[in-house]
Symmetry: C2
Subunit: 438 residues, 2 copies
């Protein structure tokens, strides 16, 4: 079965918006065991739309069309499809009634533009849109079913999940049950991961998929008609092969995992950031409920701020510099107790280092990063050495990931310092908190 997508709209074609709807569909299809065959992106010209509908309908079995169902003059998908089929547009009574209800609920008098959204090619099958004024529809032309969806992302995603994917499954005559487990990893590249996994044997029905989005590499285990026990075994086998590089299951980011753990444990957190500049804090505050655990953050960008706000000692800066195990440890201990109105936080995390492109020395080149995590009465620190050739963004992103992973490990009670694959550790230390605050 050949699946294609047609994306419409000048703003997508001209790059005024990045086509995330397209990437999302590719991912969804993969999660359900289907493969996309071709994607065609065209603008809003009627002639181009008619041409592409006719052309692709000769080649594909199912085509998802996205966009062009809105109320304005440049929304031409229904008209173009009618022209491509050589049929008129006719008023769909069912959607007309739905629109009246939709307008009444919002106190909106329906205009001619709104009513246009109930005009579908003759013979089209209505596809409900429970969250918007643009209905979807599907029609058969030549060998293909063309399935029309709105461009607004949340309306589109709902329609794809609830109606398009079941339609594809029914057309494919599949009864198979597809389940996907996502393992989030850091510090390992795609070729290394593939090499480790592809030499193992996997139960029939399991396929592996990879998706890199810095600083993460996501592994998908797609199980089609695989019994639960075998799936569990396959997941365990992947985790065993990948070791510490696996940092979360079915989460998109480490911040999401850490947020959930801190909420579950009812623990408190403080954050001291130098090169990461507030990014760790910001990623956690993005989640509602972070106020339950996050007490304070300090971005101690200059050394005076480290000393004045976090009680890093002058001796430490003079003897060890600000990029040292001791400095990171003092920062973590300091930020945990800087708020004199509440008790010391359960956990604290601190980062310091050289993000570049300048500021490196021979002894501590760009890419030298120290991360410390305070867990109850201990502070765990490590210095990592990233390539000085990498960008400031890369160095900062990896630093945030390592910090969040050390924190995650501390919260679940395993050693905070872990073995990734391509992250080089320069040194490490553990300090009792009493020693740092003395």
């Amino acid at each position: 079965m050949k699946l294609e997508m047609i994306c419409t709209g000048e703003e997508v074609l001209a790059g005024q918006i990045v086509d995330t709807n397209a990437a999302w569909l590719g991912n969804q299809l993969m999660n359900h065991g289907f493969e996309m065959h071709r994607r065609t992106t065209v603008g809003d010209r009627l002639k181009d739309l008619v041409e592409v509908f006719q052309e692709r309908s000769l080649q594909a079995d199912i085509i998802l069309v996205n966009g062009g169902l809105g109320p304005t003059a440049d929304d031409l998908s229904a008209q173009a499809m009618a022209d491509a089929m050589g049929v008129p547009l006719v008023e769909n009574q069912q959607w007309l009634e739905q629109l009246s209800i939709w307008g009444a609920e919002r106190g909106i008098t329906l205009t001619a533009s709104n009513l246009k959204q109930a005009m579908l090619p003759e013979g089209a099958v209505l596809v409900d849109n429970p969250v918007g004024s643009a209905c979807g529809f599907r029609v058969k032309l030549n060998r293909a079913w063309l399935f029309f969806t709105p461009g607004v992302p949340h309306e589109y995603k709902k329609m794809v999940s609830e109606q398009f994917l079941p339609f594809v499954k029914a057309q494919a005559g599949l009864q198979s049950k597809v389940e996907v487990t996502k393992l989030l990893s850091i510090g390992i590249g795609e070729s290394t991961m593939a090499e480790r996994l592809e030499k193992l044997s996997w139960p029939a029905g399991i396929t592996l998929g990879y998706r890199a989005y810095m600083p993460y590499l996501e592994l998908k285990l797609i199980a089609r008609d695989v019994p639960q026990a075998q799936q569990v075994k396959a997941i365990d086998q992947a985790i065993a092969a990948l070791g510490d590089t696996v940092v979360a299951r079915n989460q998109n980011t480490l911040a999401a995992e850490v947020h959930q753990l801190l909420l579950n444990e009812e623990s408190t957190l403080a954050i001291a950031e130098s090169l990461t500049g507030g990014d760790i804090c910001n990623q956690l505050v993005a989640f509602a409920g972070s106020s339950h655990y996050l007490q304070q953050g300090v971005i101690s960008y200059c050394n005076e701020a480290k000393m004045s706000l976090l009680k890093v000692t002058e001796e430490c800066i003079e003897q060890e510099t600000e990029v040292s195990l001791l400095c990171a440890a003092q920062m973590a201990a300091g930020v945990a107790s800087v708020n004199t109105l509440i008790r010391t936080t359960d956990f604290a995390v601190a980062t310091t280092g050289i993000a570049g492109p300048s500021g490196g020395t021979e002894e501590k080149p760009v890419g030298t990063v120290v991360v410390a995590v305070k867990a109850h009465n201990q502070v765990y620190c490590q210095t990592i050495g990233l390539s000085s050739q990498r960008s400031r963004t890369y160095i900062r992103d990896i630093s945030v990931a390592i910090a969040l992973d050390m924190l995650r490990r501390a919260i679940i009670g395993i050693p905070p310092i872990a073995e990734y694959h391509y992250i080089t550790r320069i040194n490490s230390a553990v300090y009792p908190i009493s020693e740092l605050l003395a």
Copy 2:
């Protein structure tokens, strides 16, 4: 002249990566006065590639092909193009020499995979890649020139800018000079902006383009063969019509503009964030050189942190709550002077508010945000009311933008509190710094 793009690669088609190369090209073409006609995305199958090259070569005049020039087995663009033309692959001597130099410089012995990158369809014109091992090339088939580029973004962008765009211009026989001015705006929607601008008269050769990327709306003034004086007049006319909503010229973000201003002025900055959670700080630290002005940031997420770290008074919290003009003012004044080892910073910015989805009250619903900016001896504050229906992300993003814009205005010496279009101001105040620190 019909311009198309063909994107290749399973990872693009399957949505494992979002196709930002495609959006970038659309933008570049628009900036140079050209229009993209169609984009086709296919995977790595040889048969599909051959088919799409033949098919599109009958329809378009110039086709940019992206991806599939790497050294691995699934990089098939050159082979597919040779098959589509019915010619063999032949070794390109010039690129072979280039590869030898490239390998020698890096101490790499060239493998068969590397050498494959010098095999081009017979008759192809070499396109140099000064930053990578994959050369580009172009060939003529049917009515089209097909121009092949590598998928690696920085190699691709360099080749497009330095070689593809000049080629397109030459093919188009255009001598016209296209200049683009970008105006970054906040607090105004696309329909309002279009309404204000489209009723004005514009010199011949000026076209307007819009691009929304939250929280910004970018206006492009594209001038084709327009004399300098008329361009300046057009830009001034746009700025006059859009007023305070225009916040920067030829910058992608407000953070970039503020960063540049602070560097130029050699001023210092401190940041206190509550609902924005470190995002203001993080956006500035993303730029190299931010250490020249940024002294410290405090994320005072709980009230105790506001009081303990920033010297917000207990009376203020009790009588006015933490979401008040006075609290934001005290936060700004406090963070400017919290670092006792250096003098008070020239500027400071503070945010506090309710990002939701819970935590609102009848008096202060979700979306109530207070922003304060300290400029030398004054602190300027305003409360804005955003819709409580909007997402946490939206509320935080707009808050960051307003804070950075108030700061920007303070640095260039105009009143920090401005009139945007869709941002509702609830109240505002100005405090002398002496009053806040007393």
